[in-house]
Subunit: 470 residues, 2 copies
Amino acid sequence: MLSSIKSVNVLGITDLSGGGEEAPGGDLSALSIPGGRSMSSHPASSSAVVDPDPLIRKHRTAGATLTVTANGTPLADREVVVAQRRHKFLFGCIGFDFIPLANGETATDDGERRSLGESPASGSQQVADLWFDLFNFATLPFYWGHFEPVRGRPDTERLLTTARWFADRGIPVKGHPLTWHTETAGWLMDLSNAEIAKAQVDRIRRDMTDFSGVIDMWDVINEAVIMPIFDKYDNGITRICREIGRIPMVRMVFDAAREANPHATLLLNDFDMSAAYECLIEGVLEAGIKIDVLGLQSHMHQGYWGEEKTLATIDRFARYGLPIHFTETTIVSGHIMPEEIVDLNDYQIPEWPTTPEGEARQADEIVRHYKTLLSHPAVEAMTYWGLSDGGWLGAPGGFVRADGTPKPSYDALRSLVKGEWWLPPTTMVTDADGRVRFDGFLGEYEITAGGRSVTFTLDEPGDAEVAVSL
Amino acid sequence: MLSSIKSVNVLGITDLSGGGEEAPGGDLSALSIPGGRSMSSHPASSSAVVDPDPLIRKHRTAGATLTVTANGTPLADREVVVAQRRHKFLFGCIGFDFIPLANGETATDDGERRSLGESPASGSQQVADLWFDLFNFATLPFYWGHFEPVRGRPDTERLLTTARWFADRGIPVKGHPLTWHTETAGWLMDLSNAEIAKAQVDRIRRDMTDFSGVIDMWDVINEAVIMPIFDKYDNGITRICREIGRIPMVRMVFDAAREANPHATLLLNDFDMSAAYECLIEGVLEAGIKIDVLGLQSHMHQGYWGEEKTLATIDRFARYGLPIHFTETTIVSGHIMPEEIVDLNDYQIPEWPTTPEGEARQADEIVRHYKTLLSHPAVEAMTYWGLSDGGWLGAPGGFVRADGTPKPSYDALRSLVKGEWWLPPTTMVTDADGRVRFDGFLGEYEITAGGRSVTFTLDEPGDAEVAVSL
C-alpha cells in the first residue's frame, strides 16, 4: 500500500477523469507471454442500470423467416400455426420435492428419506403441475451423506426413478453436487486421506455412469474456494483438499467426471463471488483443466442484489469466456435475513412467514432479476432454489406458499416465460413464396398446417432463415 | 538477552511438543493425482493463544558449542568474548525517509522529490541513528509513477545512492514494488496494451540490472488479487492484467525478474489475506511459476489483529512451504481508524495525533506482534511501515514521534531485538578442550580473544557445533 498522502497528483490522475469503462483493448500478440492465454473481454464495468428489454431481444431472440414447402413446392398463401414448445434458456428449479411423488411413495413413507430442500407441503401433483408449467430444467440432490449414508448402499434407484420422471417429461436434469465438504458422507472420517480421495473418485465414476443418458450435467465440485479452510467441523473432503490443494482437487474430480461421461456438461460451482473465485478459476484454467460451465450461487436471503451488482458480478466471471449458470437463487417473500449473518445456515428461526408486502416485493425483484440475467449473453441458465416455501432454512423463498397456492412471483415470472417471452400458437399466412416471418425467443418451435406438424429450432440470436417441409 | 549462560539446556525442544503443530498428514501417495503437488502442511488451526517464548526459543535460537583453536591447538581455559553482530531474522523498516539524507540534499531540495512515505520530521541523522540501532533490513520505494514520472528519466542515481548508503552500513535492501496498478506511471495510459506490457517488462529488466548487487530482493508484483478488477481509476497495469489475467501477469513479471537477476529473492506481495490470495498462490504455483517468498501486508490502522488472527493467517499461507515475509506492518499509537473504512486510503483527516494511552497500547501490541511472528517458523522477515510518525495517511504509526523522540514502542521493541533476543559482548571461559557453550538467537557472532577476532554464524535452530580458529 501507499505510504503518503502528499503527492496524489504525480501520476497526472487528472487525465483519468473520464471513468473510462473500456480498456482500449490493445493487442499483446506482439509480446511473447509464455503460456499467455488471451481472454475474451466482456467489459468489467458495464453495470449502469439500463433498460434490459432491448438487450434481452438482442441476445435472446431471432427474427425468423420460415420457408414452408410441401412435396417440394412452396406452400403459398396458406394459414399455418406456429407455436413455441421450449425455451433455449434454461429456466431451472430444484426437483428435490418430487422424489416421493416420482417414486409413488405415500406421505408416511417419505418422512425418513426426505432430502435436503424437500419442503413439507410441496411434493403434490398440484405443485408438480405448477412446476412443469414454468420450468424446463431440474436439479436433483446427490449430497453424499444423504445419497449414501451407509457405505455401499447408495440411493441410486430412487434418484434414477426421479430423474427419469423428469426426463420423460422433456426436462433435462443436473446432479448436485458430486464433491462437497458439507453434507458429505460421515463414514469418510474413518478412512485415511488416500482412501477418502479414492472413495471420492469412485463415487463420481459410479454415479455418473449409473445416471448416464438420464443426467448428463453435473456440479462436479461445490465451493472449492472455502473447501480446504472450512473450519466449522472436521470432514473428509476438507481433509484431502487441505492436503493436496484446491487445484489438484479440482483436477482429480474433473478428470474422474470427464472419464466417466465424456458427453456430460461439467460445472465448477461456488457461492464465493469475490476475487477468490476469480483467482481459483484462473488457476484452474491455467492448469489446463477443462470447465464447461461456471456456476454462480446467488441465495439472496439477505436481500435482492439489484441490477448493478448482478451485472457487475456476471461481467467479472464472463471474462473467462465460459457459459454462466446461476445455479442456486433464492429471493424471499418475508422479512430479510439480518446482514450480520455470515453463514446463512446459522440463521435458524422457528417461523419465517411469507407476507403480502414481501410477496409483492419478491414478485418485483424476480422480474428484475430474470430480466437482468437474460440481458447478459453469458448467462445460459438460472436455477431457482425451490418452488415451494419451507425448504432450506424454512425460508419463504418459494413461488408457491406452503398451502400450495401460487404467489405473485409465480404469476409474474410465468407471464414472462410463457407470456412476454413466448410465442403461443399463432396463426400466420404464408406469402406467395411460402414464407412467414416472426420474432421469437430462442428455443424449439412447431409449425402446423393441414393437420401436419414439424418442429424446428431457433438457436442463435439475429436473423434466421429456416426451411420446413410439411 | 537470553538467560543463556546459566541454563545450557535452555532450548529444551522436547518440552515443546505439546502444541500439536503438525497435522496428522495422511498420505495420498497411493493415489495417482495427475500433476498433484504435495503440500507441506502447517496446521490450519494451531491458533490458540499460547506463550510464544518457548516457541521463539525453539525456532529462533541455537545451543552453540564453540571449539576454539589457535594454531591448531585448543585454546584451553582462556577468557573469550562472544558478541552477537546481527540477527538472522530480518527486522525491517522502510528507508524512504532517508533518501534526502543519503543524497546530501538540504531541506529545501527535497520537498519536490519526496517519495511516498517520507515523513516530514523523519530524515534526520538523529532518526537515522535510531533506525540503525534497531533494524537490519530496509525497503526502498520504486513506485513507477514516482520513480520515472517522465518516461526515460528514472530516478536511478538517487535511489542507488540511498541503497548503497544502507548497504555500506551492512543493511540488505528490498525494492518495492516493480509491478503495481496504484502509483504506476501515468504515461502508460498513452500506450497500447502490448506496449504497456513491454514497458513493464523493460522496466523490471532495467531496474533490477541497475541495482543488482545492491538490491537483490524485490517485491516483483504487488496486489495482483485486485489488480484486474481495480476500479477506482483507469491505469495501464490494470488494463493489461484484465486482458491477460492474473497468472500470465505474474508469470510475465517473474520471468523478467528472474532473467534480470537470477540471484535475487523474488516476492509475491498482497494485502488481501482472504482465500483469494490463497487461490492466487495455488494457481501461480500450479502454473510452475517459482516464487521465493510470500509477502503478507498487515497494516493495522483499524486495530491490532491479535495473536489468534495473526497465527491463523500465517498458518494458512505457510501451507505452501514458502518463507513468509510480513512486508508492510503499521500499528498506530493514536485512535483507531473506523472499521467501516474499506480502502485505508479513503481515510483522510487533517490531524491524527499520537496519545499517551495510544503509545502504551502500541508498545504492548508491538511486543505481542513481534513475539507472535517469531514464534512461527515460517516467518523470516517483518518490515515495519515507517519509523517516524506522519508518513502514510498521516497516521501516528511510527515508533518515533514527529519531533524525533522515541515512543515506548521503540524502547519495547529494542529491548527485545537488542536485549532479550541478543547476546551482547559476553566474557566466557573455555574448558580444557577449548570449548564454550552458549545459547543465542540465530545470526552472526564474533568471538574475540587475545586481540584477535573471528566471526561465525548460527544458521539453524537446535544444537550447533562450531569450530573457530583464532
